[in-house]
Assembly symmetry: C2
Homo-oligomer: 119 residues x 2
DNA sequence: CGCGTATTTAAGCAACTACTTAAATACAAA
DNA sequence: TTTGTATTTAAGTAGTTGCTTAAATACGCG
């Protein structure tokens, strides 16, 4: 890359350097946050996460009923969320309950609050 | 859909109904939030947004330099962000400066704070 | 006006996403 | 152990994403 036009006459070299350094320094934090946002950015999954926040725990069947989607489709969303430690599961008899992990519940709280206010 | 197994013996019908209603009621808010999160969930765009938050305004060239990506690639990210009113632009002489819209700056502030703390 | 810098757009492509359907597992309870 | 309910997984597919390269615009300034 790095070809092409825009051979800038004026560029704040100091600013560019400072920004580069900052981005590199907190690269891990970017990964951590986009790890969560990437998944929460999907409309269906945001609903799943909000529902888990409100109801504390739900099984794949509940979510399937509520969202009007196949169990399989919901299950595959839950798997992604679980793989990234955004939710956790707990079996009780035949039913597997899903709930938010504390860490990501906290991270997404500002959005749940916005959703709560619009009830 | 709605075929298949999971002919649940026990399901909290009231809970299902309540959740359905709630989801429908705030459907617009879900759209609003996932509108923002969908785009912020991309690692590159999250960086762009954070940089705009920190520096107030940057042109496509600056971002290209900082992120080590082609101008074209960055430009296409900026377009998406602009289409969804997450950023706005302002021309000054030959350079077009990008900055966050107030609305989404506020919405994403919690994440910028987390990133700020990890400097 | 026409030149040069800055920026956007178009076309193409490999990789990824969200779903579908059908089959496989998991496991509690009889 | 077998049965039945609950859940996950595999394979396939249409649509989307993020980039590349090359070409097109936009517009300030001499």
């Amino acid at each position: 890359m790095n070809n092409n036009s825009c051979i800038r006459q004026q560029a704040d070299i100091k600013q560019i350097g400072r920004c580069k350094d900052r981005i590199t320094a907190i690269n891990g934090t970017f990964d951590y946050i986009s790890n969560g946002l990437e998944l929460a950015g999907n409309n269906v999954r945001l609903k799943i996460l909000f529902l888990l926040y409100e109801e504390k725990q739900l099984c794949v069947c509940d979510l399937s009923d509520i969202l009007g989607m196949t169990i399989s489709a919901v299950s595959q969303h839950l798997r992604k969320l679980k793989d990234r430690k955004i939710i956790k599961t707990e079996r009780r008899a035949q039913i597997i309950f899903n709930s938010l992990t504390k860490e990501y519940e906290e991270m997404l709280l500002p959005f749940f609050k916005i959703l709560d206010e619009n009830k």
